[in-house]
Amino acid sequence: MDALFLEFFQNTGFYLCDYRNIIMILIGMIFIYLGIAKDYEPLLLVPIGFGMLIGNIPIFKGLGLGIYESNSVLHYLYFGVTQGIYPPLVFLGIGAMTDFSTLLARPVLMLLGAAAQAGIFITFLGALALGFAPNECAAIGIIGGADGPTAIFLTAKLAPKLIGPIAVAAYSYMALVPVIQPPIMKLLTSRKERLIRMEEPRQVSKREKMIFPIVAFLLCCFLAPAALPLLGMLCFGNVLKEAVVTERLAVTARTALIDTATILLGVTVGASTQGDVFLTKSSVGIFILGAVSFCIATACGVMFAKLMNVFLKKKINPLVGAAGVSAVPDSARVVQMVGQQEDPTNFLLMHAMAPNVSGVIGSAIAAGVLWSLMV
Amino acid sequence: MNSLGNVLKKSQIFKGLESGDLDMVMPLFHERILHTGDVLTASGDSAQFFFLLGKGTLLLAMDGGKAVVLDSAGDFAAMELMSREGVYTTSVTALEDGVAWAVPREAFFDFIRQDTPAAAEIMAAWQIFLDAKAGFAKVIADIDAPVIS
């Protein structure tokens, strides 16, 4: 009988527990806390945080419970991540909820979305310099795109082993947009620049909004075919939204479908952060490079906006450049917040949405380009 | 003039009542002056009053993001537009200065629970009003007053 108890005890989490599991469980709890109490990206941080708890329950290997065991339920759910299935579904939902009218009203702001993607490639170089393999560097660099699904998609294709740390880094920095971006924005702009008022965008017709996703899809995917899974679904979702007659499909895409994909994506990515797999030297490097990438992307957007002002008659508020990272709509909200700290009557949110949604397109193209250059 | 009597006569819900019935209903109402931005009810609070609009505009913000705007004299913010099981499910905000008449919820229910032609008239008129103003809010199962056919 004693032997049975001993055998049972040896299979419990208390016996099998490793300090790394404890660390990851604590990080998971912090994620859940930040999501619920601080309202930082709760729809992402809560599933990922709980996924971390799931993934770090110490288990007896061979029982088919762990996410990395080929016959486990979690492993089957994780298949959607490793094969890049969930990110396009999330993009479909994003497309079905995004209004591109601000972009259509002032297309020049699209360049800010492109400029912010420079962070991806600069970080790519940084990662190479630190000794990462080229495929891993591409996956690390994409964190600067501030687009979780894109980061996961590219990592699944190029460096599947790094999905856990890259996804966690990407979503952590996205959640911390209100903390990370303002100091960079303030550092790179003068008060006079932050006070610039932008002219009201023109009205955009329904027909323009309908044509845009089709034109954008054809142009971008002819240019970078590897962006097809992400951009295709993004633009298709937007077509569903704008077509009106497909409203039912659009509603499903932007509610049930994206929620389902987000839950599965979040929980499985969280569960993939098993302490022994996740807490490595390369994860630390990824987190540092991810933060650098994010900061560079923000800075590139702001600096490019300042550069554009040299040539533009109707000046743009350089704060808007920070929204070029595609954390929609958080970075646009940050622009609004920082702008209103200087002038409470200055209304930048709408202007910031243009580079913000163009950042989504830009990061998808960047992912496509990196994928095609790496394979 | 927007006296209570005039408003009741204009109201789709009460205009079909006999004058004797109107005399019975009128003492239940008391005047409430509305100022722009006034919050008359907050969702989640105990439901105590319904409101008959005399003048002005009321925004009825329901749980879940839906809303109804009442802007005609005689519009009635009541029953499933306002509450469920004694709790407000709707926050009411005045969008402009005006006047409303508040009627205690329980007293109103006591009146329409009676097996009288006036109660039947009010309930029938209420269904028509609700169809026209906020058909989406018509959830028979949630009406915490008897349905009189």
Partner: protein, 143 residues
């Protein structure tokens, strides 16, 4: 291998340059294309403009719906409301719009929301949500 040596060995400079160039050229060409899109759509929607070009006559457009006359300060707030409405779905929650107006510090949000309703710029969709009427908005603002 680390540092510049690693970057050179893995063709890092070229990959980065090509990558950023493709991203930029993609978005620049898309930007150029959509900057002309509204003109093409406008001609498609108003074929009489093409005729007017050849006839050399100015395009006359007469508003048919009644327009509420607003003061300049009211127009300014209505414009700010328009910006907020554009961040929302076509069928949006009116209480949400009011909430956004409050947190964004718009002047007299309730009174101006009432103006939007009275002027027909914001109209109910019959399902508990509301729509923004761009035509009515444009007419009201330009009146």
């Amino acid at each position: 291998m680390y540092g510049l040596e690693a970057i050179n060995a893995n063709n890092g400079w070229a990959i980065s340059a090509v990558g950023i160039t493709i991203v930029f050229s993609g978005l620049v060409s898309l930007s150029l294309l959509i900057s002309q899109l509204h003109k093409a759509v406008d001609l498609f929607e108003n074929p009489h403009k093409i005729k007017a070009w050849f006839a050399g006559k100015p395009d006359a457009k007469v508003s048919e719906s009644p327009v509420m006359v607003l003061r300049e300060d009211q127009k300014e707030v209505v414009r700010q409301y328009a910006l907020l409405a554009r961040t929302m779905d076509d069928h949006f929650s009116l209480p949400r719009l009011l909430h956004l107006a409050r947190v964004s510090g718009l002047k007299d949000p309730c009174a101006h929301l009432n103006l939007l309703l009275k002027s027909g710029i914001v109209t109910p969709d019959g399902e508990g949500y509301f729509c923004w009427d761009e035509n009515q908005f444009n007419q009201t603002i330009s009146y």
